[in-house]
């Protein structure tokens, strides 16, 4: 058995601020709420923290002329496959990946990583969900080929994946709609979820199209809120309240790192899934809950197949009717409602929090019985990260 570095790290604590469509508090204060909650949840004090990370990478240069060739475009030009990257907004596509490296190598003992969104308020202030990249006067890097032709949102950029997938495998909206419908039922049991009223398949099918075949209920819901995660060195576990092990994690880019140039849009994230399974003796059948990134319904579909919960092209049949992915099903999916109903906390932060709570038995009315292994994934496509967490 190899000494995978992630085994030397644990997720010590998770914490969240209030979460809502619009909150009248600054992102800064929400962040402090989440961090203090996470540190308390870990059984630590603020003085124990010696590492800090913001994810995805934030900040911007205050001087013009910092060239910064886009990392994905450089990877594309060099035609590389990468299993580690740094410097792109989504980085390794898992919020705890970098912090786990830090504690595994002794660079820090207890790292806080946080993600704060005020997208609910931003949408309200703009009179609607703003166009992607509209904060910039020009579309640079990969967006130069998308925004000028009217692909003005991530919806437009991901919709062709859904169209191609459904075309290749004969999967229908009537099948995939069971993902948002079932997740809404989970959200009804989560007091922190944003949308808790029942959603029927008929309501899903009748909802307005945003960018075909993606309809309103295929899109996650912008919210205000903050999430913090404490990642600690595994040898500090005796001092932690309820640490969760990182069994395996990976994030591989083996295709063109571009939303429009990805070669096979019917098959996404498979290299990341394969790399993750290489690092563990566990198998897909061992997973008790799946917290799979669902910025859009199709992203959860990618992960169901990429992690081997069903075969390629089989996710439609797998989720149809909702029984398999329900809380009492063989693979409970996004047990907190996911981003589709729980709120777009982004970058798998909400998914990680839920995995930790399910593993600890702290998920309240939505607790799944006997959870020992949880899968967590982020994004999909080329920005793909996947992990297995265990007790």
């Amino acid at each position: 058995m190899q000494d995978w570095f992630e085994r030397r790290a644990v997720i010590a604590g998770v914490g969240q601020s209030a979460i809502g469509r619009q909150l009248e508090r600054s992102g800064f204060q929400l962040t402090l709420d989440a961090i203090l909650a996470a540190i308390g949840d870990a059984g630590l004090t603020v003085d124990d923290i010696d590492g800090l990370a913001m994810f995805p990478g934030g900040g911007s240069a205050n001087l013009p002329g910092y060239s910064g060739a886009n990392l994905y475009e450089i990877q594309d030009a060099l035609r590389l496959t990468t299993s580690w990257r740094q410097g792109q907004v989504e980085g390794m596509s898992l919020p705890f990946y970098g912090p786990a490296q830090a504690v595994a190598t002794g660079a820090a003992r207890h790292v806080v990583v946080y993600r704060t969104v005020k997208e609910g308020s931003a949408a309200r202030n703009a009179g609607g969900r703003p166009a992607y990249g509209s904060i910039h006067a020009e579309a640079a890097g990969p967006l130069a080929w998308l925004l000028p032709v009217g692909a003005l949102s991530p919806v437009c950029q991901i919709a062709p994946y859904a169209a191609r997938y459904m075309h290749e495998y004969g999967v229908t909206r009537e099948q995939l709609g069971w993902i948002p419908v079932t997740q809404r039922a989970h959200a009804a049991r989560n007091p922190d979820a944003v949308y808790r009223d029942p959603l029927t398949l008929d309501e899903y099918l009748a909802s307005r199209m945003i960018s075909s075949p993606i309809c309103l209920f295929d899109c996650d819901v912008p919210v205000d809120g903050s999430t913090a995660i404490v990642v600690s060195a595994a040898d500090t576990a005796p001092h932690l309240r309820a640490p969760i092990r990182i069994e395996a994690m990976a994030g591989v880019i083996d295709g063109r790192p571009s939303w429009d140039q990805w070669e096979d849009m019917g098959r996404v994230g498979h290299a990341t899934g394969a790399a993750m399974w290489e690092r563990t003796e566990l198998r897909p059948g061992d997973v008790d809950v799946a917290e799979l990134y669902d910025g859009f319904t199709i992203e959860a579909v990618w992960w169901l197949e990429a992690l081997g919960f069903c075969g390629t092209g089989e996710a439609g049949a797998f989720v149809e009717g909702g029984a398999r992915i329900a809380l009492d099903g063989e693979l409970p999916l996004n047990t907190w409602g996911g981003q589709l109903s729980g709120g777009r906390l982004h970058a798998a932060f909400g998914h990680t929090v839920e995995a930790v709570r399910q593993l600890r038995g702290e998920a309240g009315a939505r607790q799944v019985d006997g959870v020992e292994v949880a899968a967590v994934t982020n994004v999909g496509g080329y920005e793909a990260g996947a992990a297995l967490l265990t007790k």
């Binding site: 579309a139 130069a144 080929w145 949102s153 945003i210 960018s211």
Partner: protein
């Protein structure tokens, strides 16, 4: 349909030739003068043999829709909707896929696999942007949903 609403592209050393040709209604991609492979978007390096000897080559042949979406959401105040966005590949130019708008058919009649001709129309900021033209087909059907 007003395709000029939106954000113009940033033009770089790598992409200047594409946007200049676009204004003339020509679709230009990169061709490696060492191994002959073609690639898009332009990187100034061959994605097949990694030679840094790329020259512009024009595509005039018919393309085929790899995938598409019809956008219904008014992301910007003056945006006319709906419109189809197509990802087009070229049987005669392996390795090249170009994103553009679609003209010449009802957007809801666009399908994966349909044939399109190269074209451009006025885009944001005075740029000409790819706008493929549907080739009339008696078998066109609604896009898969």
């Amino acid at each position: 349909m007003n395709s000029a609403v939106g954000t113009p592209p940033a033009v770089t050393e790598e992409t200047a030739a594409f946007w200049a040709a676009a204004k003339e209604g020509r679709l230009v991609v990169e061709r490696c003068s060492v191994c002959g492979a073609e690639s898009f978007p332009p990187r100034g390096m061959c994605r097949t043999c990694r030679a840094r000897a790329m020259v512009p080559v024009e595509i005039t042949s018919r393309g085929r829709v790899y995938s598409l979406t019809v956008n219904y959401q008014r992301w910007l105040p003056d945006l006319d909707v709906p419109y189809a966005i197509v990802l087009v590949e070229f049987p005669d130019h392996p390795g090249v896929r170009v994103v553009g708008r679609l003209r010449g058919c009802d957007p809801e009649h666009a399908t994966i696999g349909m044939d399109v001709d190269v074209g451009f129309e006025p885009g944001p900021g005075g740029f000409a942007v790819p706008s493929f033209v549907a080739v009339a087909s008696p078998h066109s059907q609604r896009a898969s949903e």
